[in-house]
């Protein structure tokens, strides 16, 4: 009924308010005002129990400032958690200022994940289209990594990335690795700079030019501004991809992350626990209503 699955909180505690101590081990500037941090758990016991699914998020906590819901961009070989953050509010700016060595609190993981096939739950071989806008690539990155890892599960895989300018493209050092795994990585920007030789325009442009041999066996995963995701979905549907094969990830104010505070509702959905990854057919109705 709900293909996207919410995982249970850490077994080491049943208290959803329990906060784990983490330390920023690395901070990399990704793009103007966007940076990626790598977090290590202070308690090795927690580190060994912590599991997440691509698409889920953590609540990162700066004591005295507050929490912010940040999607999990991936996990490094050293088991640190990657989060890509745009410095827009008090919490994210404090993390940016704090830098390497800063201690944070973490609750998580929360929310639903991208319904990709995994070795434990293999699906019929299908094609994937992954469409990202700007920092919307962050919640997709861990999923792309898992696709690379389980590449034989899928037939054609395309990653379509749009950004405002070439400088706003995230994770560009990883594109080659994705391409080596026979993933079709395509880029487009709004405003090219002098060195730009790629596409110019919206990300749906890339989608519309894709060859889709098996539209009904293709899944679309998209993250970006809502307006972009609606265009992506619309474009995908016009290419014959059924709406139930299209998945979006949504953002609302998340305060508790466990569906108990009421902030993140969109119609009947609690974005924190029913989402953030949601089937487009499930939410398209609500997305079409202004300020719902």
């Amino acid at each position: 009924m709900r293909p996207a699955t919410a995982s249970a909180p850490l077994e080491v505690s049943n208290d959803p308010w329990r906060t784990w101590g983490v330390t920023v081990k690395r901070l990399v500037d990704e793009a103007p005002n966007i940076f990626t941090i790598e977090l290590a758990f202070n308690d090795p016991r927690v580190a060994s129990e912590y599991r997440f699914e691509p698409g889920q998020f953590n609540m990162l906590y700066v004591p005295g400032v507050g929490e912010s819901a940040i999607s999990i961009a991936g996990q490094t070989s050293a088991k640190t958690l990657q989060h890509s953050i745009r410095a827009v509010g008090s919490v994210t700016r404090a993390i940016q200022r704090g830098g390497v060595g800063m201690q944070l609190g973490l609750r998580g993981p929360f929310g639903t994940s991208w319904p990709v096939a995994t070795p434990s739950a293999p699906a019929a071989v299908h094609d994937l289209i992954i469409a990202a806008g700007g920092i919307g690539l962050a919640p997709l990155k861990a999923m792309i990594a898992s696709v690379v890892h389980n590449r034989t599960q899928f037939d054609r895989v395309s990653v379509l990335i749009g950004a405002r300018t070439p400088a706003d493209l995230l994770y560009h050092l990883e594109y080659d690795q994705w391409r080596q795994a026979a993933i079709d990585v395509q880029l487009t920007v709004d405003r090219p700079d002098d060195g730009w030789t790629g596409q110019v325009g919206v990300v749906t442009l890339l989608l519309e030019r894709l060859t889709l041999p098996h539209p009904t066996a293709t899944r679309v995963f998209t993250c970006g501004p809502e307006v972009m995701m609606r265009y992506v979905a619309k474009s995908a549907e016009s290419r014959g991809i059924p709406s139930q094969n299209i998945w979006v990830t949504l953002e609302r104010h998340m305060n508790c992350a466990i569906g108990l505070c009421g902030h993140c509702q969109l119609g009947p959905e609690f974005i924190c626990k029913d989402g953030p990854v949601l089937g487009f057919d499930r939410v398209r109705r609500w997305l079409s209503v202004y300020d719902l």
């Binding site: 202070n42 005295g64 940040i70 919206v202 993250c223 108990l260």
Partner: protein, 412 residues
């Protein structure tokens, strides 16, 4: 004996005992001896509110109230009943889901931050005088806080410690509509004891083993058929006094199919977005967590407080405020309460207590708003936003703002 009999006859559930009114004092004393703090109705600040009740003398005996949209009055009446009044502004929510509670702490020392969740031990509370709609409201909040994928430990601890002595309504306010929501006025489930007050005694229905046990501490007898009949007549009195109704037929779809109904604008002209309806609602559960730190910043508490979907910053995100006018906020409240609650928790979020009607400073009556929303709209002022398709664009740009369409600045 009673307890054993309850255990043997639980399939019957219905076990009617009666006891003299003065025995209620002994029951309260017994509850105190078991370590309970008894909370019940009290007259305070010209309203009947919930507070600590140590004896019958604390109850608002001989008082009645009158209610209408935006107005509440309590006054002495001709009767000598202890419970011949309707719901006041307080609900039991304040004891199970406190308006302000500490969730966790963060302490900084030389080694760094230590995070803890030192939840206070739950107080052992006995609720006296819980009405049928309030039992329903507690059941609704149970679904929210206990029966989802995540359990709120604070609510859970408090809820498990509570003993409930319900009271059947014998009167109804002009704002009551529990009969529409199928929650009352007769208490059906969710209590340890349910009392019906007669002229000179209480008839008690045992609802749990614990209820049977506490009743053993006082002198009771089997209720006689005439007493049972009299209790029914008194309970029927409340049913007959209920004037207000809400048509709940297909209400979920009616509301969610009318998100652009022009009546939302009409009600937004009256709505103050002041949060009163959500605060007095016994099921509303919205909250926000805020940081409370000392000046050194080394000792931090995370405090959860009641919040409301009527607050402008409630839906704030880095991308902007989602519900940026009173119309969208009132719509969120009403559609959540009466419609999307069904999707989320398999029940209505409304129990028909009428508090939101009485305690709205400008007397907005949700039953009337629902009726108006059932009327076909005269015109749809706001149609769903449907953007033109994006043009495949190399420079120059399409009229669609490609800026907005391409970057996911706010989605993290």
């Amino acid at each position: 004996m009673l307890a054993a009999s309850y255990a043997n006859h639980r399939n019957r559930i219905l076990m009617l005992r009666k006891f003299a009114k003065a025995e209620l004092n002994r029951l309260l004393a017994h509850l105190r001896s078991l370590g309970f703090t008894v909370l019940g109705p009290k007259l305070e600040d010209e309203a009947i509110v919930y507070g600590q009740v140590d004896s019958l003398a604390d109850l608002p005996r001989g008082y009645s109230d009158s209610q209408q949209p935006g107005k509440y009055r309590v006054s002495q009446a001709e009767h000598q009943f202890y419970f011949e009044f309707n719901l006041g502004p307080h609900s039991w929510k304040q004891f199970l889901f406190p308006p302000r509670v500490s969730l966790s702490t963060a302490q900084l020392d030389a080694t760094g931050w230590t995070f803890e969740t030192p939840h206070q031990p739950a107080p052992k509370l006995a609720f006296l005088g819980v009405r049928a709609c309030e039992l329903a409201a507690i059941a609704v909040q149970d679904r929210v806080f206990l029966h989802g994928p995540y359990v709120d430990p604070i609510y859970q601890a408090r809820r498990e410690a509570v003993l409930i002595i319900a009271v059947n309504c014998t009167v109804a306010a002009a704002t009551c509509f529990c009969t529409s929501m199928l929650t009352g006025p007769k208490c059906q489930a969710g209590f340890d004891l349910a009392l019906t007050e007669l002229d000179d005694c209480f008839v008690a229905e045992v609802g749990s083993q614990r209820g049977a046990e506490i009743l053993e501490a006082i002198t009771t007898e089997s209720a006689t058929p005439p007493e049972i009949e009299q209790a029914k007549v008194r309970e029927q009195g409340a049913v007959e006094q209920i004037q207000k109704s809400m048509d709940t037929t297909n209400i979920r779809n009616v509301l969610l199919d009318n998100l652009e109904h022009p009546h939302w604008d009409t009600v937004a002209e009256r709505c103050l977005s002041c949060t009163n309806c959500t605060m007095v609602c016994p099921t509303c559960f919205c909250s926000s967590v805020s940081e409370v730190a000392d000046l050194s910043g080394e000792h931090v508490q995370r405090i959860r407080q009641w919040d409301s979907c009527f607050n402008l910053d409630f839906s704030y995100t880095a991308s902007g405020t989602v519900r940026n006018d009173r119309r969208s906020r009132f719509r969120q409240w009403l559609t959540h309460k009466l419609a999307s609650w069904h999707d989320q928790f398999d029940s209505s979020g409304c129990v028909g207590c009428g508090r939101c009607i009485t305690w709205c400073p400008v007397g907005i009556d949700l039953t009337e708003e629902v009726a108006a929303l059932r009327e076909p709209p005269i015109s749809n002022r706001r149609l769903p936003v449907i953007e033109p398709p994006p043009t495949i664009c190399h420079l120059p740009r399409s009229p669609v703002d490609p800026h907005a369409a391409i970057s996911a600045e706010e989605t993290q």
